[in-house]
């Protein structure tokens, strides 16, 4: 099992954006991050790739999307309880060992996929900063 929680603290200008817009941005971040992770994950049967999913308080997706051997519905990750929160990860037991590596599990050599996805999506978020800033200013004027 492995995952990352995305909160408004990851989003620039989240304090001046209304809750609905923050939710939308967080969902977008989740979709992008899970997409990067699915691209980077090592594939044998594809089960690990299939297991990567995202969830917000209201929506979830990604499980068994993108090809590969389908994984059980038991591997759905629970939606976060709080609003304005997203989660991206996998519930498979070996998801963590593949990401971090374990000296006693040579059958799962370390092949990181989630942390590079986090780093690349952070970079992509920086490039999208202008779009987010425009949405924030628009929302601030609307609310003010």
């Amino acid at each position: 099992m492995i995952g990352i929680t995305i909160t408004p603290s990851h989003i620039d200008y989240s304090k001046i954006i209304d809750e609905k817009t923050v939710d939308k941005i967080i969902k977008g971040e989740c979709v992008i991050l899970s997409g990067f992770a699915k691209e980077l994950v090592p594939v044998d049967t594809g089960q690990l790739k299939s297991s990567i999913m995202w969830a917000t308080a209201n929506e979830k997706g990604g499980l068994n999307e993108g090809g590969g051997e389908p994984t059980s519905a038991f591997n759905y990750i629970d939606p976060p309880n709080e609003k304005e929160t997203g989660y991206v990860g996998s519930h498979l037991e070996y998801a963590g060992p593949v990401e971090y590596g374990r000296a006693d599990m040579p059958q799962y050599p370390r092949q990181p996929y989630l942390r590079p996805a986090i780093d690349y999506s952070k970079r992509a978020r920086e490039l999208r900063r202008g779009t987010i800033l425009r949405a924030s200013i628009k929302a601030a004027y609307k609310n003010g």
Binding site: Y100, G101, D104, R110, D119, Y120, R123
Partner: protein, 131 residues
């Protein structure tokens, strides 16, 4: 000779800590330890390194995540990982082929391995410029 990449620079800096290196009797290795390495030993490799030319005025700049692993016979040997983390956290402003702009190491993950051994892992996020 000056380092040519970030993992080499971090390696040089760690090996300069001779008292610490003496406690790592099994050795420090790039990427992974050889078969049969004796505990305690360590290894490291770059997890990601996005280039940042667009953000830093076309300087040859990188933002790397480097994972360090220490495999030890006892939990008490976590001190080896903690000491390495401490040294690496002090590298901001240091130059040796690459100039470290900022560096931060996250918390150490403890993994209890089968066969009464422990693995301690942490990531280092480092922003640097090649000089």
């Amino acid at each position: 000779m000056a380092s040519t990449n970030i993992e080499q620079a971090l390696d040089v800096k760690l090996r300069a800590q001779t008292a610490w290196l003496a406690t790592l009797t099994g050795g420090l290795y790039p990427y992974s330890a050889p078969d049969g390495a004796t505990e305690p030993y360590g290894f490291y490799n770059v997890i990601s390194d996005s280039s940042e030319e667009g953000s830093f005025d076309n300087l040859d700049t990188g933002r790397a995540r480097v994972q360090f692993d220490f495999v030890c016979a006892t939990k008490a040997h976590k001190s080896i990982a903690l000491a390495a983390r401490k040294y690496l956290n002090q590298l901001a402003g240091w130059t040796d082929g690459v100039s470290v702009t900022s560096i931060i190491a996250n918390g150490v993950r403890d993994i209890e391995l089968t066969g009464n051994a422990w693995q301690f892992q942490f990531d280092v996020m480092v922003e640097y410029t090649r000089v």
